[in-house]
Symmetry: C2
Subunit: 657 residues, 2 copies
Amino acid sequence: MSENQETVAVIAITLPDGTVKSFPSGSTGLDIALSIGRKLAQDALALKVNGIAVDLSKPLTADSEIEILTFDSPLGKDIFWHSSSHIMAQAIEELYPDSKFGAGPSIEQGFYYDVASTYRFREEDLRQIEQKMLEISKRDIQIRREEMSRTAAIDFFKTVRNEPYKVEILEDTLKEVETVSLYHQEGFTDLCIGPHLPSTSKLKAVLLTNISSSYWRGDSERENMQRIYGITFPSEKMLKEHVTLLEEAKRRDHRKLGAELQLFMLSPEVGSGLPIWLPKGAIIRNELESFLKEEQRKRGYLPVYTPHIGNIELYKRSGHYPYYSESQFPPLTYHDENGKQEQYLLKPMNCPHHHLIYSSALRSYRDLPIRLTEFGTVYRHEQSGELNGLVRARGFTQDDSHIYCRPDQLVDEICDAIDLTQFVFATLGFSDVQTRLSMHDPENQAKYGGTPEVWEQAEKDVKEAADRMGIKYFIGIGEASFYGPKIDFIVRDALGRKWQLGTVQVDYVMPERFDLTYIGSDGQKHRPVVIHRAPFGSMERFIGVLIEHTAGNFPLWLAPVQAVVLPIAEDVHDYAKSVHQAMLAAGIRTELDTRSEKIGKKIREAEIGKVPCMIVIGQKEQESSEVSLRRHRIGDEGKFSVAGLIEKLQKEITGRT
Amino acid sequence: MSENQETVAVIAITLPDGTVKSFPSGSTGLDIALSIGRKLAQDALALKVNGIAVDLSKPLTADSEIEILTFDSPLGKDIFWHSSSHIMAQAIEELYPDSKFGAGPSIEQGFYYDVASTYRFREEDLRQIEQKMLEISKRDIQIRREEMSRTAAIDFFKTVRNEPYKVEILEDTLKEVETVSLYHQEGFTDLCIGPHLPSTSKLKAVLLTNISSSYWRGDSERENMQRIYGITFPSEKMLKEHVTLLEEAKRRDHRKLGAELQLFMLSPEVGSGLPIWLPKGAIIRNELESFLKEEQRKRGYLPVYTPHIGNIELYKRSGHYPYYSESQFPPLTYHDENGKQEQYLLKPMNCPHHHLIYSSALRSYRDLPIRLTEFGTVYRHEQSGELNGLVRARGFTQDDSHIYCRPDQLVDEICDAIDLTQFVFATLGFSDVQTRLSMHDPENQAKYGGTPEVWEQAEKDVKEAADRMGIKYFIGIGEASFYGPKIDFIVRDALGRKWQLGTVQVDYVMPERFDLTYIGSDGQKHRPVVIHRAPFGSMERFIGVLIEHTAGNFPLWLAPVQAVVLPIAEDVHDYAKSVHQAMLAAGIRTELDTRSEKIGKKIREAEIGKVPCMIVIGQKEQESSEVSLRRHRIGDEGKFSVAGLIEKLQKEITGRT
């Protein structure tokens, strides 16, 4: 039997929700989007086919699993911003025709392009380039892919486009490649692997943010280029929201608030990245530490103190030196009285010290688990460009613990560490927490200590604990530490930004390296497993994030100044003083404002200072032996007796609400 | 008119109590002692004449203030032990005639002599030498001073005595001296400035303690000598007491108890002099820190946290570097990403960091005093031979504060710091505290920062505060720090040994160097004064001393394990467990001993572990829902309900009694 060769071939397209639809072979992503709905076709930016992103115009000729990419997905944004960098280049070329283009990638928030030009771009030029980009958008130019041989492309960028940097890339970086792809939009063409938007018209709003200087290929011997940064959106509204968020983030910047509220300082005289906690910041840190200490005491943790330096041999044994020497301060080297060379390292982590404590005594299976804990200050030499106030510092204090347990206790102990971390986050008002199970990359086994069997067991245990705790998680392959898998907690702050804070890590490797043992019920030596865990992660980083999350409006129990007593006039000063004294005696951090200012001004200043409770006292309050309570950002809460107010506030403070 | 030339001249002798007695010119110290009493004459070792110690046999020919020196005074002991070293040398010479003698001084506890001999002294030889010394004592040899010219002495030690080291001293060290003194006792003669005992018979008891090796004149190029140490007493009874004290000190050695009670450890893998606090020691440290924090909060101190390193420029500014570089770890030196050299110092003190905090804001006269406080761990590179457990370490934590005040507030603030220090010592059971006002040495003004006027004022203020607080003190000239006078607190422990712990220091120098200012009521800039103070001094040293003072029998509030529940038999285990849980829930650090051992053994082991409270539970206790309380080193205290016991113990703990 012969079949009709003219019959149009049909392909099966599987959508993300699992439904399968038939399309004629040669259908494009746009065709599929249109078949689903007009709105989707409008929002569609590109297509993911069997996991690979392609242009929306690419004809499909085989059965495929597909996903239509819009601006909602991280990959959709990435493509949007990548095309935007081409559109910006076209705009620059139209405005400044002698410009030559280097690299123009998308980045986490937007894109940039490195431009070589005799013209020095100024801030105000960016507004003009933005206008030109919107004009190019209005032209609704089709963005067209063309594939050609590398040699043809070299010829094209030499003769048609005169783009020496593109020629260099083709002749050097891509010298092993036969066929390359170009993307055209009117007279502008870029060498690019793609994919790209179907048309320039998708871009509806643009903000060029910054000009900085860079070297071609990052090589200071090569040409100086001007790097222009920007961000774009498929709607004006989204840009407005973005700008609002930026302003809010700037307003909440913990470095700005940290200075305004006198929480911490950084001093070049002490050194970059070495925060100094001022009295008001030290109160917050101390309250958080006390909170965790109390909780840890209940859970059977044993505090220890260890030195901030250690002989370098200790870190050679742990494997941290020299492999992590890039992120460590260099060793402190000297010769002792007998001429012997000694080398100490500022401790980059607390683990080796704790392992020595574990092995300082014979341990029985009955002694385990042993949970050592320390607020241990560690020092790491982050690159100066990466330093960021408290959030990225060179000296920071980990709320570190090492739990030494038997293998049969491991899952229970991981669960307890997860529970403690969740309790900490909930108490601090982080309600949106993502959990990543950070696993090793089996294709890169050499990166890790320990055998594949040990890794299999450890990852199984981590999953079992996460499942038992009923937490939603995602898997991060290759995100494990070198000694074992981790559970990483990523919180979203009030502005939706993600911060990796707490961590729970399983370690089968260090017990080997430090020859840690316990005597089992069989009288034989066994290896314990170690859990490393830190709910806050680092006190500095956590508080930095907390400042931005709360915008400095700390909950009552954390507020450096919890209340301020505000007498309305001088005739109630004595009564106000007695209230102030009573509150201090009750352990409530209270100030007294007896300046001869109007009460309105005193309240305004207390609001600016973000003091949670304003205790207003006038003639009426004095007569009835009461006080009026006004809450920061809320307003009046009525009158209370002094004892009643103290009881109410103490309850809130001890309840950490 | 002619006077009778034969009349015996009379001299007026003033005794320590102020009484003046007449003696014939030419009377000796022994004559004076005999005139006062037989017992005193027997105990007399030497005489102090107008502040200078001389032999008891020296004739006095002018009016003088005198003091008869006995073994009770430090100077009397010093002379006793110096003569003892001569007696030991004589004994060695009689036993080992080829011995040659180097230097033989008294030391803080006894004496030593450096001996050159072809014979290698062994431990057991010391017993024989002791016997010979007692035999020399029995011979009741008069110790006789002779003065002669240096050249005659050289001749004597070359020909009569054949003592090459004495000759070397005469020819080298004493080459500018005309007349020297020799002390004879039978055939043995030593070159010595004296004074000495009148007779060898004063020595009644001897203990030679140790043999070590030394170089002649401490020069490793010169002859090796054998240094023999000993201690002697004027009675057998005193030696016995001394030996008992030595044994007790050994028993209480904080390094021994620290290991036995698992309080701290030292590990060569971390480094010499870097104590690691084990869980039980960390409890003590944490309790002491909490105690002081609470007290400081009441007194208006503001906690801060600062890094453990600082740029070296900071210490150049303070003047600590390079002048104190011998006792510091060397700087950590490296080059940053831009090739710029950076140098950091492990902080040897917290002051510069605190000064930067002070100067981080504009301060008004109304803001002062500002009392910054930190449990700041500092690092100093003590010589390895001087390290001693917790008491002398390379890393230690100061309970440091810096009080910035106006000059008119200084005396009040010193008084408050004295008061706090006294409160701390009293709470910790140190009842015998001496106070030294450590003043500068005006003859050595160059050693100190600041002008003579500033020193005059500072020392006046220190004295005024000490007087106002009504404390007894003594003055230590030349004991001040380079930046100002100090009040040093020296405690005597249970064995009578002295330890310098707390300190209060006045500083007019650092405010200049760090350009610290405040705006006065006149609107002008003024300099604050700084008080440095630390009641504990260092947590490590204080706890080291406390361990030896208490012999590890800590008061209830400090004890790492406060109570242990001891069920007598298995049938009361459930009840014992409920008692254990109730005590834990009440925050009392309690263990439970459910081993199937006899109650006697359990109690014995708890006593050895120095657990303050043993909660004994048997059938009777279970029936009456009570417990029996047994106190460590005291015994039974009767029966209590569980709630009653908890209340009683909590009261003791919070009262820190």
